[in-house]
Protein backbone atom coordinates (compact mmCIF):
# COMPACT_ATOMS: atom_id res chain seq x y z
CA UNK A 1 0.00 0.00 0.00
CA UNK A 2 0.98 3.65 -0.28
CA UNK A 3 1.60 5.50 2.97
CA UNK A 4 2.42 9.17 3.57
CA UNK A 5 4.18 9.73 6.87
CA UNK A 6 4.17 13.36 8.04
CA UNK A 7 6.89 14.07 10.57
CA UNK A 8 10.35 12.52 10.55
CA UNK A 9 11.13 12.51 14.26
CA UNK A 10 11.62 9.32 16.25
CA UNK A 11 8.08 8.07 15.68
CA UNK A 12 7.85 8.90 11.99
CA UNK A 13 11.29 7.59 11.17
CA UNK A 14 10.83 4.25 12.91
CA UNK A 15 7.35 3.70 11.53
CA UNK A 16 8.55 4.59 8.00
CA UNK A 17 11.46 2.16 8.29
CA UNK A 18 9.17 -0.69 9.33
CA UNK A 19 6.73 0.07 6.53
CA UNK A 20 9.50 0.21 3.91
CA UNK A 21 10.96 -3.03 5.25
CA UNK A 22 7.64 -4.78 4.87
CA UNK A 23 7.47 -3.74 1.24
CA UNK A 24 5.19 -0.71 1.33
CA UNK A 25 5.62 2.43 -0.72
CA UNK A 26 6.30 5.33 1.63
CA UNK A 27 6.88 9.09 1.48
CA UNK A 28 8.30 10.55 4.68
CA UNK A 29 7.88 14.33 5.02
CA UNK A 30 10.12 16.34 7.34
CA UNK A 31 10.34 20.12 7.51
CA UNK A 32 13.61 20.58 9.39
CA UNK A 33 16.50 20.54 6.96
CA UNK A 34 19.04 18.98 9.34
CA UNK A 35 16.68 16.15 10.16
CA UNK A 36 15.70 15.74 6.51
CA UNK A 37 19.33 15.37 5.44
CA UNK A 38 19.87 12.56 7.93
CA UNK A 39 16.66 10.89 6.79
CA UNK A 40 17.69 11.21 3.17
CA UNK A 41 20.92 9.36 3.91
CA UNK A 42 18.94 6.42 5.20
CA UNK A 43 15.77 6.56 3.13
CA UNK A 44 16.92 8.13 -0.15
CA UNK A 45 14.03 9.41 -2.26
CA UNK A 46 11.46 8.21 0.28
CA UNK A 47 12.37 11.27 2.38
CA UNK A 48 10.94 14.62 1.34
CA UNK A 49 11.69 18.12 2.64
CA UNK A 50 8.69 20.32 3.42
CA UNK A 51 5.98 21.43 5.81
CA UNK A 52 3.33 18.72 5.63
CA UNK A 53 0.61 21.15 6.65
CA UNK A 54 1.10 22.97 3.34
CA UNK A 55 -1.25 21.67 0.70
CA UNK A 56 1.35 22.00 -2.07
CA UNK A 57 3.76 19.83 -0.08
CA UNK A 58 1.10 17.18 0.47
CA UNK A 59 0.30 17.31 -3.23
CA UNK A 60 3.95 16.70 -4.09
CA UNK A 61 3.80 13.73 -1.74
CA UNK A 62 0.92 12.34 -3.80
CA UNK A 63 -1.99 13.15 -1.48
CA UNK A 64 -4.28 13.23 -4.52
CA UNK A 65 -3.63 9.60 -5.50
CA UNK A 66 -4.83 9.24 -2.64
CA UNK A 67 -2.61 7.22 -0.27
CA UNK A 68 -4.13 4.19 1.48
CA UNK A 69 -2.98 5.65 4.76
CA UNK A 70 -1.71 8.97 6.11
CA UNK A 71 0.20 9.05 9.38
CA UNK A 72 0.30 12.49 11.00
CA UNK A 73 3.01 11.99 13.60
CA UNK A 74 4.74 15.34 14.05
CA UNK A 75 5.43 16.74 17.51
CA UNK A 76 2.69 19.37 17.14
CA UNK A 77 -0.91 18.41 17.73
CA UNK A 78 -2.34 21.28 15.71
CA UNK A 79 -0.20 20.23 12.74
CA UNK A 80 -1.29 16.60 13.06
CA UNK A 81 -4.90 17.67 13.19
CA UNK A 82 -4.65 19.88 10.12
CA UNK A 83 -2.74 17.23 8.12
CA UNK A 84 -5.40 14.64 8.96
CA UNK A 85 -8.24 17.01 8.06
CA UNK A 86 -6.73 18.02 4.73
CA UNK A 87 -6.08 14.36 3.88
CA UNK A 88 -9.56 13.14 4.79
CA UNK A 89 -11.79 16.05 3.90
CA UNK A 90 -9.80 17.47 1.02
CA UNK A 91 -8.50 14.40 -0.74
CA UNK A 92 -10.71 11.54 0.36
CA UNK A 93 -7.99 9.64 2.19
CA UNK A 94 -9.91 6.91 3.98
CA UNK A 95 -7.57 6.30 6.85
CA UNK A 96 -5.52 8.88 8.70
CA UNK A 97 -3.86 8.06 11.98
CA UNK A 98 -2.84 11.03 14.11
CA UNK A 99 -0.43 11.24 16.98
CA UNK A 100 -1.66 13.16 20.02
CA UNK A 101 1.27 14.62 21.95
CA UNK A 102 -0.63 16.37 24.74
CA UNK A 103 -3.52 14.22 26.00
CA UNK A 104 -5.51 17.39 26.72
CA UNK A 105 -5.78 17.88 22.96
CA UNK A 106 -7.48 14.50 22.46
CA UNK A 107 -10.88 16.18 22.73
CA UNK A 108 -10.10 18.41 19.74
CA UNK A 109 -9.29 15.40 17.56
CA UNK A 110 -12.52 13.74 18.68
CA UNK A 111 -14.51 16.91 18.03
CA UNK A 112 -13.13 17.27 14.51
CA UNK A 113 -13.70 13.68 13.50
CA UNK A 114 -10.13 12.42 13.60
CA UNK A 115 -11.06 9.14 15.20
CA UNK A 116 -7.85 7.15 14.78
CA UNK A 117 -5.43 8.63 17.26
CA UNK A 118 -2.48 7.39 19.26
CA UNK A 119 -1.29 9.09 22.42
CA UNK A 120 1.81 7.65 24.04
CA UNK A 121 1.29 9.69 27.21
CA UNK A 122 -2.25 8.39 27.70
CA UNK A 123 -1.03 4.87 27.01
CA UNK A 124 1.64 5.13 29.65
CA UNK A 125 -0.79 6.73 32.11
CA UNK A 126 -3.21 3.89 31.45
CA UNK A 127 -0.50 1.39 32.33
CA UNK A 128 0.38 3.35 35.46
CA UNK A 129 -3.28 3.31 36.45
CA UNK A 130 -3.49 -0.40 35.81
CA UNK A 131 -0.31 -1.29 37.68
CA UNK A 132 -0.80 1.18 40.54
CA UNK A 133 -4.55 1.73 40.82
CA UNK A 134 -5.09 4.82 42.88
CA UNK A 135 -8.81 5.18 42.91
CA UNK A 136 -9.85 1.56 42.69
CA UNK A 137 -11.08 2.00 39.12
CA UNK A 138 -9.06 1.08 36.04
CA UNK A 139 -10.12 1.84 32.49
CA UNK A 140 -9.65 -1.25 30.36
CA UNK A 141 -11.14 0.04 27.13
CA UNK A 142 -12.47 3.34 25.95
CA UNK A 143 -14.70 3.54 22.88
CA UNK A 144 -14.79 7.30 22.84
CA UNK A 145 -16.78 8.00 19.73
CA UNK A 146 -19.22 5.20 20.55
CA UNK A 147 -19.63 6.49 24.11
CA UNK A 148 -18.79 3.30 26.00
CA UNK A 149 -16.14 2.31 28.52
CA UNK A 150 -15.04 -0.94 30.07
CA UNK A 151 -13.60 -0.57 33.56
CA UNK A 152 -12.31 -2.81 36.30
CA UNK A 153 -12.96 -2.15 39.98
CA UNK A 154 -11.13 -3.80 42.85
CA UNK A 155 -13.45 -4.93 45.67
CA UNK A 156 -12.12 -4.92 49.23
CA UNK A 157 -13.53 -6.08 52.55
CA UNK A 158 -15.04 -2.72 53.38
CA UNK A 159 -16.55 -2.11 49.93
CA UNK A 160 -20.32 -1.67 50.12
CA UNK A 161 -20.64 -4.17 47.26
CA UNK A 162 -18.81 -6.95 49.13
CA UNK A 163 -21.12 -9.80 49.99
CA UNK A 164 -23.96 -8.52 47.79
CA UNK A 165 -25.60 -10.12 44.78
CA UNK A 166 -25.18 -8.30 41.47
CA UNK A 167 -28.95 -7.75 41.36
CA UNK A 168 -28.78 -6.07 44.76
CA UNK A 169 -26.22 -3.44 43.79
CA UNK A 170 -27.53 0.07 43.29
CA UNK A 171 -25.63 0.93 40.13
CA UNK A 172 -26.18 4.17 38.24
CA UNK A 173 -28.40 4.02 35.17
CA UNK A 174 -26.11 3.36 32.20
CA UNK A 175 -23.66 1.10 34.02
CA UNK A 176 -23.70 -2.68 34.20
CA UNK A 177 -21.45 -5.28 35.78
CA UNK A 178 -20.55 -7.82 33.10
CA UNK A 179 -17.99 -10.07 34.77
CA UNK A 180 -16.39 -10.89 38.07
CA UNK A 181 -12.77 -11.99 38.19
CA UNK A 182 -11.82 -14.20 41.07
CA UNK A 183 -8.40 -15.77 41.48
CA UNK A 184 -7.45 -15.10 37.90
CA UNK A 185 -10.62 -16.53 36.37
CA UNK A 186 -13.40 -14.44 34.89
CA UNK A 187 -17.00 -15.38 35.39
CA UNK A 188 -19.83 -13.74 33.46
CA UNK A 189 -21.88 -11.82 35.99
CA UNK A 190 -25.39 -13.14 36.54
CA UNK A 191 -28.04 -11.59 38.79
CA UNK A 192 -27.30 -14.09 41.54
CA UNK A 193 -23.48 -13.78 41.36
CA UNK A 194 -22.19 -12.63 44.74
CA UNK A 195 -19.38 -10.09 44.83
CA UNK A 196 -16.64 -10.94 47.34
CA UNK A 197 -13.68 -9.09 48.80
CA UNK A 198 -10.65 -9.54 46.54
CA UNK A 199 -12.78 -9.74 43.38
CA UNK A 200 -12.18 -7.54 40.38
CA UNK A 201 -15.47 -6.47 38.95
CA UNK A 202 -15.61 -5.63 35.24
CA UNK A 203 -18.30 -3.16 34.25
CA UNK A 204 -19.43 -1.38 31.10
CA UNK A 205 -20.69 2.16 31.40
CA UNK A 206 -21.35 5.41 29.65
CA UNK A 207 -18.39 7.81 30.03
CA UNK A 208 -18.89 10.18 32.96
CA UNK A 209 -20.44 7.62 35.29
CA UNK A 210 -17.09 6.45 36.72
CA UNK A 211 -17.44 8.24 40.05
CA UNK A 212 -20.98 7.07 40.65
CA UNK A 213 -20.05 3.50 39.74
CA UNK A 214 -17.05 3.62 42.05
CA UNK A 215 -19.19 4.91 44.91
CA UNK A 216 -21.74 2.15 44.39
CA UNK A 217 -19.10 -0.56 44.40
CA UNK A 218 -16.31 0.54 46.72
CA UNK A 219 -17.74 3.56 48.52
Amino acid sequence: MYVVVAGGGKVGKNVARSLVDSGHEVTLIEQRRDRFERLEEEFGHVAMLGDATEISVLERAGIARPPDLVLAVTGDDEDNLVISQIAKEGYGVLKAIARVNDPRNQQHFDLLGITLTVCATSGILGLVEHEVPEHGLVRLLELRSEGLEVVEVQITGDSPAAGKRIAGLSLPEGARVVAVMRMGTAEIAAEETVVRPGDQVVAILKPGLEDRLRKALVG
Binding site: T53, E54, I55, S56, D76, D77, E78, D79, L81, V82, Q85, I86, E89, G90, R104, N105, Q107, H108, L111, L112
Partner: protein
Protein backbone atom coordinates in the same frame (compact mmCIF):
# COMPACT_ATOMS: atom_id res chain seq x y z
CA UNK B 1 -21.99 42.10 22.98
CA UNK B 2 -19.05 39.98 24.06
CA UNK B 3 -15.96 39.15 22.03
CA UNK B 4 -12.98 36.93 22.76
CA UNK B 5 -9.81 37.71 20.83
CA UNK B 6 -7.23 34.93 20.83
CA UNK B 7 -3.71 35.99 19.95
CA UNK B 8 -2.86 39.51 21.07
CA UNK B 9 -0.16 40.48 18.60
CA UNK B 10 -0.24 43.43 16.23
CA UNK B 11 -3.47 42.27 14.61
CA UNK B 12 -5.28 40.79 17.61
CA UNK B 13 -4.56 43.70 19.92
CA UNK B 14 -5.75 46.24 17.35
CA UNK B 15 -8.95 44.29 16.72
CA UNK B 16 -9.51 44.04 20.48
CA UNK B 17 -9.08 47.76 21.14
CA UNK B 18 -11.17 48.69 18.10
CA UNK B 19 -14.07 46.46 19.15
CA UNK B 20 -13.80 47.74 22.73
CA UNK B 21 -13.99 51.34 21.50
CA UNK B 22 -17.17 50.40 19.64
CA UNK B 23 -18.76 49.22 22.85
CA UNK B 24 -17.97 45.50 22.87
CA UNK B 25 -16.92 43.74 26.05
CA UNK B 26 -13.64 42.19 24.97
CA UNK B 27 -11.34 39.61 26.55
CA UNK B 28 -7.96 39.05 24.93
CA UNK B 29 -5.97 35.82 25.26
CA UNK B 30 -2.24 35.45 24.71
CA UNK B 31 0.45 33.03 25.80
CA UNK B 32 2.73 35.91 26.58
CA UNK B 33 1.90 38.18 29.48
CA UNK B 34 3.81 41.05 27.88
CA UNK B 35 1.17 41.17 25.13
CA UNK B 36 -1.11 43.01 27.55
CA UNK B 37 0.98 46.14 26.95
CA UNK B 38 -0.20 46.15 23.31
CA UNK B 39 -3.73 46.88 24.51
CA UNK B 40 -2.62 50.20 25.95
CA UNK B 41 -2.71 51.68 29.44
CA UNK B 42 -6.42 52.32 29.59
CA UNK B 43 -7.44 48.74 28.73
CA UNK B 44 -10.65 48.02 30.59
CA UNK B 45 -11.35 44.63 29.01
CA UNK B 46 -10.24 41.20 30.16
CA UNK B 47 -6.90 39.57 29.58
CA UNK B 48 -6.10 35.89 30.08
CA UNK B 49 -2.59 34.46 29.84
CA UNK B 50 -2.52 31.00 28.27
CA UNK B 51 -2.73 28.90 25.11
CA UNK B 52 -5.91 29.12 23.08
CA UNK B 53 -6.04 25.37 22.52
CA UNK B 54 -6.46 24.89 26.27
CA UNK B 55 -10.21 24.73 26.94
CA UNK B 56 -9.67 25.86 30.51
CA UNK B 57 -8.16 29.09 29.19
CA UNK B 58 -11.03 29.49 26.72
CA UNK B 59 -13.53 29.01 29.51
CA UNK B 60 -11.74 31.54 31.68
CA UNK B 61 -11.87 34.00 28.80
CA UNK B 62 -15.63 33.53 28.76
CA UNK B 63 -15.96 31.79 25.39
CA UNK B 64 -19.10 30.02 26.54
CA UNK B 65 -21.21 33.14 26.29
CA UNK B 66 -19.21 35.04 23.67
CA UNK B 67 -21.03 36.49 20.66
CA UNK B 68 -17.89 36.62 18.54
CA UNK B 69 -14.47 34.98 18.57
CA UNK B 70 -11.47 36.34 16.67
CA UNK B 71 -8.50 34.00 16.26
CA UNK B 72 -5.21 35.62 15.27
CA UNK B 73 -2.26 33.83 16.87
CA UNK B 74 0.99 33.57 14.92
CA UNK B 75 0.33 29.93 13.97
CA UNK B 76 -2.05 29.10 11.12
CA UNK B 77 -2.65 25.57 12.33
CA UNK B 78 -3.25 26.72 15.88
CA UNK B 79 -5.79 29.22 14.55
CA UNK B 80 -7.51 26.54 12.48
CA UNK B 81 -7.95 24.28 15.49
CA UNK B 82 -9.08 27.04 17.87
CA UNK B 83 -11.52 28.43 15.29
CA UNK B 84 -13.14 25.05 14.76
CA UNK B 85 -13.30 24.41 18.51
CA UNK B 86 -15.04 27.78 19.00
CA UNK B 87 -17.47 26.95 16.22
CA UNK B 88 -18.22 23.31 16.89
CA UNK B 89 -17.69 22.86 20.61
CA UNK B 90 -19.04 26.17 21.83
CA UNK B 91 -21.45 26.84 18.99
CA UNK B 92 -20.27 30.41 18.42
CA UNK B 93 -21.92 31.75 15.28
CA UNK B 94 -19.41 34.49 14.56
CA UNK B 95 -15.90 33.03 14.43
CA UNK B 96 -13.27 34.73 12.30
CA UNK B 97 -9.84 33.22 11.80
CA UNK B 98 -6.73 34.89 10.44
CA UNK B 99 -4.65 32.56 8.24
CA UNK B 100 -1.50 33.60 6.44
CA UNK B 101 -1.43 30.69 3.99
CA UNK B 102 -3.88 31.35 1.14
CA UNK B 103 -4.35 27.68 0.28
CA UNK B 104 -5.24 26.64 3.81
CA UNK B 105 -7.50 29.71 4.06
CA UNK B 106 -9.35 28.61 0.93
CA UNK B 107 -9.55 24.99 2.05
CA UNK B 108 -10.96 25.79 5.48
CA UNK B 109 -13.34 28.38 4.05
CA UNK B 110 -14.83 25.51 2.03
CA UNK B 111 -15.21 23.56 5.27
CA UNK B 112 -17.28 26.41 6.68
CA UNK B 113 -14.74 28.46 8.61
CA UNK B 114 -14.68 32.24 8.10
CA UNK B 115 -11.05 32.73 7.19
CA UNK B 116 -9.35 36.05 6.58
CA UNK B 117 -6.12 35.82 4.61
CA UNK B 118 -4.02 39.02 4.67
CA UNK B 119 -1.54 37.41 2.29
CA UNK B 120 -4.24 36.93 -0.33
CA UNK B 121 -5.48 40.47 0.28
CA UNK B 122 -1.96 41.83 -0.24
CA UNK B 123 -1.55 39.81 -3.42
CA UNK B 124 -4.82 41.14 -4.84
CA UNK B 125 -4.17 44.74 -3.84
CA UNK B 126 -0.61 44.76 -5.12
CA UNK B 127 -1.59 43.20 -8.42
CA UNK B 128 -4.48 45.63 -8.78
CA UNK B 129 -2.26 48.58 -7.88
CA UNK B 130 0.18 47.65 -10.63
CA UNK B 131 -2.66 47.21 -13.14
CA UNK B 132 -4.01 50.66 -12.36
CA UNK B 133 -0.62 52.42 -12.61
CA UNK B 134 -0.32 54.89 -15.39
CA UNK B 135 2.68 53.31 -17.05
CA UNK B 136 3.62 54.72 -20.46
CA UNK B 137 3.81 52.02 -23.12
CA UNK B 138 7.32 50.84 -23.97
CA UNK B 139 8.95 53.08 -26.57
CA UNK B 140 9.83 51.15 -29.67
CA UNK B 141 13.64 50.83 -29.82
CA UNK B 142 15.04 53.78 -31.70
CA UNK B 143 16.35 52.83 -35.10
CA UNK B 144 20.05 53.35 -35.23
Amino acid sequence: MKAVVIGCGRVGSAVATQLASEGWTVTAVDENEAALARLGGGWAGGFVVGHGMDVEILTRAGIEDADAVVVATSGDNTNIVIGQVAQKRYGIGCVVVRLLDPRRAEFYAKLGLRTICPTQTAISYLTEAVRSCDVPPLEPAAAS
